[in-house]
């Protein structure tokens, strides 16, 4: 038996790459949209807003045709792997045997639930609990499918259950499944899929919006685009942290692989990633600001936008500054390392962490501005009725205190050299200060000064997580490398606690405020391109990161166990990558347009019946 075959003489790897990436995009869609639809439906039930229910229904309609695309591309992917890489697949099927059956069964389960969820929509209007239950089951199957699929790819990166001497697999399916990188990959992919789902829905709404004739339609799709964007950006905010976690675990799994990723040939891909994500943040902010057009009263805030703009552009620039341009070791050994003064300070991780956090804070700030555009006179906290807001505030406070104080103590208790200790206590002191700021913000909110509370929190986070820690990172780099990883987690913890607390305070503070109507549909045509842009960027980023994740193994099918001895066991250049990902994107969008068009056919029928 041959170890490798070709498909009409084509480069087998590229064939598999393209098919796998297309499959992945559809799978992400089919995973994310049900999560989305179900939440929207649940919110609709809770708030009694019929619009929500209709939106969920419309999304599910898209799903049913996307689901068959997922199945079809998955089948093609399976066949092509078995035909083109038989030896590798023999190894994988030996290892994952039962896992693959469970996968197939889950797929059937998912299909069943999906169609049931969709077709029973109208009948179960009076039994929403059942319908939501089915939706939950659908999501359960979806997530299980994703996790099983992830276990294969993460096994290829960090195989477990291997006899180190012979390289043979001696473990159980469960050991292989729960390999080292499995959970980090699950978390990262799940969140990224939600982002993708949000942006796809946004892009769909944008295209529909641009073709709308009536005012009602316009209002509907404008609103839908807004929701899609909201979900996408919301899920986007924790994504860098999940990515950071995954990256750190890659380092722990294999420092060699970690270095290939961040210091080796793949470090360039992160520059591309930074460009894409930076544009994405710009696009998202642009859309938010454009959305203020719909709101009377937003004039009060538009003047701040140019400053926010400035901050984002600055962050983007720092983020892009590469640390070391000449990349290969050989080149380095020739010319020596000479840093330009800018890249010396802005190019390193400490500075990048700082600006990423600032960018997230700024985007969150624009979102708060957007939210308060249509709010006017507020009701002081002490005059509001009900205990819900107390509960919300205290749950948020308990959680954020747990994050800051808990992590602060765990840093103090970390086993490190005595020389490193003082650096760590500085970091934990910052965490404790943040905890005090959190408490202060809550106290201020309760005594009717919610806005000041928010400012306090923004200020303490920006000063500590961005400014002080950004600078402190350089000190650590010089004196106590070991402390660096605690620093970045601390920055993250501070930013997250600030986001959570400020969001809750915002909700409480404005909960009974006078509002003006949002005029959905009153949105410039141009702004819709921002939604499309976000979706395109997301597809590109997914393609890029897929290339990195897979490429990190270099010339191994299964890292350090099964060598790739095919003629294609080299790393394609970034240029090759952009071509392949571009092609994938074109095919994916062509197929999705078809899917959306197909589902619009039944929509027409429904309308016709209604008349």
């Amino acid at each position: 038996m041959e170890a490798y075959n070709t498909f009409f003489g084509l480069d087998s790897r590229i064939v598999v790459w393209i098919i796998a990436q297309i499959h992945l995009l559809f799978a992400a869609f089919v995973l994310a949209v049900p999560v989305f639809a179900l939440s929207v439906e649940a919110i609709g039930v809770k708030s009694g807003d019929k619009r929500m229910d209709d939106l969920a229904h419309e999304l599910t309609k898209l799903l049913s045709s996307a689901f068959s695309m997922t199945a079809a591309t998955g089948g093609i992917l399976g066949f092509s792997l078995f035909c083109l890489y038989p030896e590798f697949m023999r190894y994988m099927t030996n290892v994952f045997n039962e896992g693959m059956f469970i996968y197939a069964l889950c797929f059937i389960g998912e299909g069943f639930c999906l169609y049931f969820y969709y077709y029973s929509w109208d009948r179960t209007q009076n039994n929403k609990a059942l319908h939501i239950g089915i939706g939950g089951l659908l999501n359960l199957f979806g997530v299980t499918l994703m996790m099983i699929g992830n276990s294969w790819t993460s096994f290829m990166m960090s195989p477990s259950g291997i006899d180190q001497e012979t390289g043979e697999f001696v473990g159980t399916v469960w050991e292989a499944t729960t390999n080292f990188l499995w959970q980090p990959l699950n978390i990262h992919r799940f969140i990224a899929n939600i982002v993708f789902g949000g942006f796809i829905v946004g892009a769909y709404a944008a295209v529909k919006f641009m073709g709308c004739k009536t005012k009602e339609e316009k209002a509907h799709y404008d609103w839908m685009g807004y929701i899609g964007n909201f979900v996408g950006i919301g899920a986007m905010i924790p994504l860098p942290f999940a990515g950071y976690f995954l990256g750190r675990e890659v380092y722990s799994a294999s420092p060699v692989m970690g270095n290939i990723m961040m210091g080796g040939r793949f470090s360039w891909t992160f520059i591309v990633q930074a460009i894409l994500i930076g544009i994405l943040f710009l696009g998202a902010n642009y859309y938010l600001w454009a959305g203020m057009e719909r709101i009377k009263g937003s004039e009060r805030y538009t003047k701040y936008i140019k400053y926010l703009n400035g901050i984002i552009v600055f962050c983007f620039a720092v983020w892009l500054t590469p640390h070391n341009l000449p990349l290969t070791g050989e080149e380095r050994s020739l010319i020596g390392e000479q840093y330009h003064i800018i890249s010396k300070y802005f190019g390193v991780m400490a500075a990048k962490n700082a600006v990423v956090n600032l960018m997230i804070l700024t985007t969150f700030f624009s979102f708060l501005l957007y939210r308060r555009s249509n709010k006017f006179k507020t009701v002081p906290f002490t005059q509001q009725q009900g205990s819900g807001k107390f509960i919300a505030l205290f749950v948020a406070l308990a959680f954020t205190l747990f994050m800051t104080v808990g992590y602060g103590f765990s840093i103090l208790g970390a086993h490190v050299d005595v020389e490193v200790k003082p650096y760590l206590s500085f970091i934990s002191i910052c965490l404790f200060i943040q905890a005090v700021a959190l408490i202060g913000a809550v106290v201020l909110t309760i005594s009717n000064k919610g806005l000041i509370g928010q400012w306090l929190l923004f200020a303490s986070t920006a000063i500590m997580a961005v400014l002080i820690m950004g600078i402190y990172g350089f000190v650590l780099m010089k004196n106590a490398n070991m402390a660096l990883r605690f620093l970045s987690v601390t920055q993250v913890a501070m930013v997250i606690t600030c986001l959570i607390m400020n969001a809750v305070i915002d909700a409480v503070y404005y909960s009974k405020a006078e509002t003006s109507e949002i005029e959905w549909g009153k949105m410039h045509y141009r702004s819709q391109f921002a939604l499309i842009l976000l979706c395109v960027l997301m597809v590109m980023t997914m393609g890029l990161m897929g290339y990195v994740r897979s490429g990190l193994r270099e010339n191994w099918h299964i890292y350090a166990v099964l060598k790739d001895t095919s003629p294609w066991s080299f790393t394609p250049t970034l240029f090759n990558m952009t071509w392949v990902v571009g092609l994938v994107m074109v095919i994916f969008f062509a197929l999705t347009s078809m899917v959306f068009w197909l589902s619009s056919l039944t929509g027409k029928k429904d309308e016709a019946e209604a008349h």
Partner: protein, 322 residues
């Protein structure tokens, strides 16, 4: 719907072009090559240097003096000098009669026996997968480390069995052996090699068993000294690794004439450059204005010229040359 659909398609098209353009400029900037480079080595400090900065991945963690940017491991700038005191420390702790070189060997064979203060025990076993250096490559790297603060002395490098045995069967089970994925016909390959009228005609430049020209290296025993992957790469992308003694150069004379080819000799009197037809040009040293190493091998890349089938026949033939 119609018009907005086309706007959207146009917009996506523009973004796509931007993306591909970005890929192309970064690839140019970074000088990436598609194939992984397998560095030609000898058991010398120079061979070790190229492993250090390449295949061995050492540079991703270690710097040497002010060269490199690896910070996860200690700077190895004067490691050989430091190794003397380290060995004493190890001897005091119970190792028997460890020398400075012995310490260098130990830090590669059993990196966790002694963990340098301030660093984590994360130096990999570089002779095991995934880096998987061969015994000779490890020797070469150690020779290179010896030159960092001391004199190199290959005779002192006696590898412990766990390294010396790598690649001698112990590890083979772990790593599937290389196999061609299409069987070629060596006899057909041989005729392609020597057919001077064909497109392939390797014999225009290479000799096998005394037949052929001498522009490129003699290939009579190529399969004995080179791996199959290396040979494949030499044919498809010859410029990735250029055989030593066949470095391409560009010479600019004072009169402005430009001569490119293989540098055959370069001494105080003259420079000899051989072109791809085997003609040698002599340039008196006084006439040479500039001599520049080129990255493009004189051997043309055959990747786009050669048919799949011919390629495998040719490869089958080359693999018989032992």
């Amino acid at each position: 719907m119609q018009k907005s659909f086309w706007y959207m398609a146009l917009f996506i098209g523009i973004l796509l072009c931007g993306f591909i353009y970005l890929g192309s400029i970064i690839t140019k900037l970074s000088g990436e090559k598609g194939k992984t480079t397998e560095v030609a080595t000898g058991v010398t400090p120079e061979g070790g240097e190229s492993i250090f900065w390449g295949k061995g991945q050492c540079h991703t963690c270690h710097s040497i003096g002010s060269t490199g940017s690896g910070i996860r491991g200690p700077n190895l700038g004067d490691v050989a000098a430091r190794a003397v005191s380290r060995a004493e420390e190890r001897n005091a702790a119970g190792a028997s009669g460890m020398t400075a070189t012995g310490y260098l060997i130990e830090s590669i064979a059993q990196p966790n026996n002694y963990v340098v203060k301030g660093f984590k025990a994360e130096m990999p076993y570089v002779y095991k997968a995934p880096i998987a250096l061969s015994a000779d490559e490890v020797k070469a790297v150690i020779a290179y480390l010896q030159t960092q603060g001391s004199e190199f002395d290959i005779a002192q490098i006696v590898l412990p069995p766990e390294i010396a045995d790598t690649g001698k069967g112990g590890d083979e089970g772990a790593v599937a052996e290389w196999k061609p994925y299409v069987e070629g016909d060596a006899a057909v390959g041989e005729s392609l090699f020597f057919d001077l009228k064909g497109d392939i005609a390797c014999a225009k430049c290479h000799t096998v068993n005394g037949v052929g020209a001498k522009v490129g290296p003699d290939l009579s025993t190529v399969a004995a000294t080179r791996s199959a992957e290396y040979i494949i790469e030499s044919i498809l992308e010859p410029s990735v690794v250029i055989a030593s003694g066949f470095e391409p150069v560009k010479v600019k004379t004072k009169k402005g004439k430009i001569i490119t080819g293989i540098l055959k000799e370069d001494n105080d009197e003259h420079v000899l450059v051989m072109n791809s037809a085997g003609e040698v040009t002599e340039i008196p040293k006084g006439d040479v204005k500039k001599l520049k190493q080129l990255k493009m091998s004189v051997m043309p890349p055959f990747g786009n010229v050669i048919k799949m089938e011919d390629f495998h026949n040719l490869l089958a033939y080359l693999l018989t040359l032992k």
